[in-house]
């Protein structure tokens, strides 16, 4: 008799656990949907640190970089994504991604003040390589719109995180913290660079 309660409880739990929402649209539950697009840019540490570094550097550079980069960065990265999806080859993509982390990390650590046009070109080149890597790794079954929304939103939010961190430059102590972060990003970039050129093989 006492066995009936656990049985009933199990039945109740199983019946509730097995209920599923009705999905009337194709954007949910597909390989490479919204969640997949959101997670893709934040699951590779080399991509993640470079995206954040771009935001921090933009904040350090101030106007107009701080407001032009959020507008153009996801778009330039999407151009790279298109090249990746269409399998247009780029030279040494993994090495370039690691180099981007090193250079952007050094730029943040050294408070490098390039003219805006030069900084924009550097960031655009790296954005194309990062976008290319994401596009090339994309699952073919991906829902185009859902994946695109997730991917661009995650990229933009990472960039905004960098800008938010970069606002610490208003305080002397915050500037030191940011320079330390830049050095850390450059260090991690060096690790990936060594990996990319086969130093650990």
């Amino acid at each position: 008799m006492s066995l009936r309660i656990p049985q009933a409880l199990t039945t109740a739990i199983v019946s509730i656990a097995l209920t599923q929402p009705a999905l009337a649209h194709e954007q949910a539950g597909v390989a490479g949907g919204l969640v997949s697009g959101l997670l893709h840019p934040i699951t590779g540490i080399d991509h993640l640190i470079a995206m954040v570094a771009v935001g921090i550097w933009g904040a350090q550079l101030g106007a107009p970089a701080i407001w032009i980069l959020p507008i153009t960065f996801p778009l330039v990265m999407a151009v790279g994504g298109v090249l990746g999806v269409l399998h247009v080859p780029l030279p040494m993509p993994e090495v370039m991604i690691a180099v981007s982390a090193v250079i952007l990390g050094v730029a943040v650590a050294a408070r490098l003040r390039l003219p805006f046009a030069a900084a924009a070109v550097v960031v655009a080149i790296f954005a194309i390589f990062h976008g290319h890597a994401h596009g090339a790794e994309l699952p073919r079954a991906a829902n185009a719109l859902a994946y695109g929304v997730g991917f661009v939103t995650a990229t933009g939010l990472l960039h905004l995180c960098g800008i938010a961190i970069g606002t610490l430059t208003r305080w002397p102590a915050g500037e030191r913290i940011i320079q330390g972060l830049g050095a850390g990003i450059a260090g991690i970039g060096c690790y990936f660079l060594a990996q990319g050129i086969g130093a650990f093989a």
Partner: protein
């Protein structure tokens, strides 16, 4: 006795967990297709992104230009709905992606779009999305009720988005570099990037 109360409790919990709300309204009285038309576009990312982008573009251009969309947009939805299944899945996706890219670029560039071009863009978006909504209709759906729901929600959504954008963007200096203007332009850049990604993925697959 204790066992009985536990079982009764369990039964009550299961009954409550599986309970449905009583349907005392006209949804159950053959007007459900009106609500289906009103809710359907709000659950589709294509509609959400494109309607928002169109409303934002009009909102940034000011009330004098934006108010033309109040009749134009619902009318375009009705025209698109009447066309039905004229677009294949791939061409519909490409059309969506192209419109996202175009509207996103205009937003990001803070372009001063003429009224006629704005109306043409909004009408094109509405026709494309109206046809996409119409493609999902079953033979048993009352098309008139569905169209009324779709046009109603189109009117409400576009008007609300335009108004919210106009209010959000309004600043004392009205400077192109105010953070509100930059936020709207940045969102435009994101929408254009989504369109570009979508177009390439559609072409690749």
């Amino acid at each position: 006795m204790k066992l009985k109360s536990a079982r009764a409790l369990m039964s009550a919990a299961m009954v409550l967990a599986g309970a449905n709300a009583a349907e005392a309204h006209i949804v159950a009285a053959r007007l459900g297709d009106f609500y289906m038309g009103a809710v359907h576009p709000l659950t589709d990312l294509g509609d959400v992104v494109l309607w928002t982008a169109t409303g934002m573009l009009a909102g940034t251009l000011g009330g004098a230009k934006a108010r033309w969309l109040i009749p134009v947009f619902p009318l375009g939805l009705l025209v698109g709905l009447s066309l039905g299944n004229v677009f294949s899945a791939t061409s519909a996706q490409l059309a969506d992606a192209t419109m996202m890219l175009a509207i996103g670029m205009l937003l990001a560039a803070a372009a001063q779009v003429p009224t006629l071009l704005l109306c043409a863009i909004a009408f094109a978006v509405a026709v494309i999305r109206g046809a996409a909504n119409g493609a999902d209709l079953g033979p048993e759906t009352d098309r008139l009720l569905f169209a009324a729901g779709l046009a109603g929600v189109g009117y409400g959504a576009i008007t609300l988005t335009m108004a919210l954008t106009a209010v959000f963007r309004r600043t004392h200096s009205d400077s192109a570099t105010s953070w509100r203007a930059i936020a709207v332009r940045a969102l435009g850049g994101w929408i254009a990037a989504i369109g570009l990604m979508m177009a390439s993925l559609t072409l690749a697959s």
